[in-house]
Symmetry: C2
DNA sequence: CGCACCTTTGACACTTGTCAAAACACGTGG
DNA sequence: CCACGTGTTTTGACAAGTGTCAAAGGTGCG
């Protein structure tokens, strides 16, 4: 199937046709939205989880003094809030970084999966665990690494995750986020982020103009970002070697 | 029952006696260890998950240049690595902050639960989702908050989590961690951490001598730490009001 | 063509890290 | 019971990293 969710879950083992059906039936309606729309709000209690079919989205949270932290960035095939099935109310919001196509998976359908499809349930659970592993890596990123390293690390991560869903061309990909948003990802001011990006350009590790990012030297960029892809649980073949 | 896991999972709804039995049978052997032992290593592929029956433990990860980040702190009743059931190999280590009593839950037993006990499966899944919510809050902590706030926030969190398992006395609790470890939690140097703690003391929000912590003014400490307990999914009655 | 938003620059303040040493606490052996 | 040694906490002085403010350039779209 061309279903991006099926494609993603079966990365870690094949699905039976009953399971594929159950997944297909889990998704009810589909919705298109523009860029920069907050489509899930902190404090809400959604009755469905949202799967990203197209575009980029991000989880976020504001502090009392108005600073925004981006908690995760999501791409095609990601559930942006599968955890809302069991964890209510939402303790963060979700907004679109670009125009997006969303698919809604009502919680009662997911519940039915947990009642009748143990293997599929484990796969869904697994996908939330990878979320957790990525969170942990971000904690290291924010807690231990310098500004330039944080940016490098994030770009390496996103490159691989986009590659896993076929959204890269060679060492390039489309990244529809502003430097303001990137600053909220990397936990720094926009001015300092800008200087960090320029640093990466000056080192000839990266090109980034508008929405087009190109990694000019994977080995040095990933070394600078202290990037070890293990936490993403991706197949070996997706990880660049050499260059 | 006095089983801390049962106690914790049933915070979010009662367990049937079949479910309690299945849980009791999921735990095979029990083990005591000393302080400061790395009992799960990064890269290992454990065949069981570990439940903390007594003591304090922490997940951690080292960067290439030797900095350690603590990813989470665990207390009585926590699974320190339930995710290792589905996520292998470990992308972080786990070590004891104090002497601990551990219970081992072989993965094949957990798998049996997922085959026959959907409700219990959802509860276990739920507990890993709370882990994720805590990770997200730590991301905000490291990304957005000042040094003093980060420390205040962590202490508020731990106080409530300890309270939920009956490990507090009034506004006090035992915290068997060194300032070195606290620095690796809050993502800062030990010197700066020490000055932040002294700042909290000078403001009369906190007493912390040796392993004894006492929160002297909950309202002001939680305000300073920008602490909103929602993400912990704890019952309302555990949250202090006034003072 | 002009407006709105995004990126880039410069100057400066402030937070946090580093290094090195002193003070303190605690457990062990004499 | 005291002396000693090890690890932890605390200090001081200074360096480095990052944030803030304000303004100038760019870019793309209506």
């Amino acid at each position: 199937m061309e279903d991006p969710l099926v494609k993603k879950l079966s990365l870690h083992g094949p699905l039976s046709s009953e399971e594929e059906n159950a997944l297909a039936e889990a998704v009810s309606e589909q919705r298109d939205i523009g860029a920069d729309e907050e489509f899930i709000s902190e404090g809400s209690e959604p009755s469905y989880s949202i799967l990203l079919l197209e575009g980029f989205a991000a989880r976020f949270k504001y502090t009392a003094d108005g600073k925004r932290q981006i908690l995760s960035v999501h791409v095609k095939g990601d559930f942006v809030d599968l955890h809302s099935f069991l964890l209510q109310p939402m303790e963060h919001g979700v907004f679109s970084l670009s125009p997006c196509t969303l698919a809604l998976a009502p919680h009662h359908r997911i519940r039915e999966i947990t009642e009748g499809f143990p293997h599929l349930t484990r796969l869904l659970w697994h996908s939330t665990l990878i979320d957790g592993a990525i969170h942990r890596e971000w904690i290291v990123n924010l807690g231990c690494r310098s500004a330039v390293s944080r940016v490098a690390h994030f770009l390496c991560e996103l490159f691989l995750r986009l590659r896993a869903v076929g959204e890269t061309q060679g060492r390039s990909f489309r990244l529809p986020i502003t430097q303001n948003e990137m600053a909220d990802i990397a936990g720094m001011s926009i001015v300092h982020l800008n200087r960090s990006v320029q640093d990466l350009r000056a080192r000839r590790l990266l090109s980034w103009r508008g929405q087009d990012v190109s990694i000019d030297n994977w080995d040095r960029l990933s070394a600078l970002g202290d990037f070890d892809p293990n936490y993403l649980s991706l197949p070996e073949r997706l990880i660049p070697s050499g260059d």
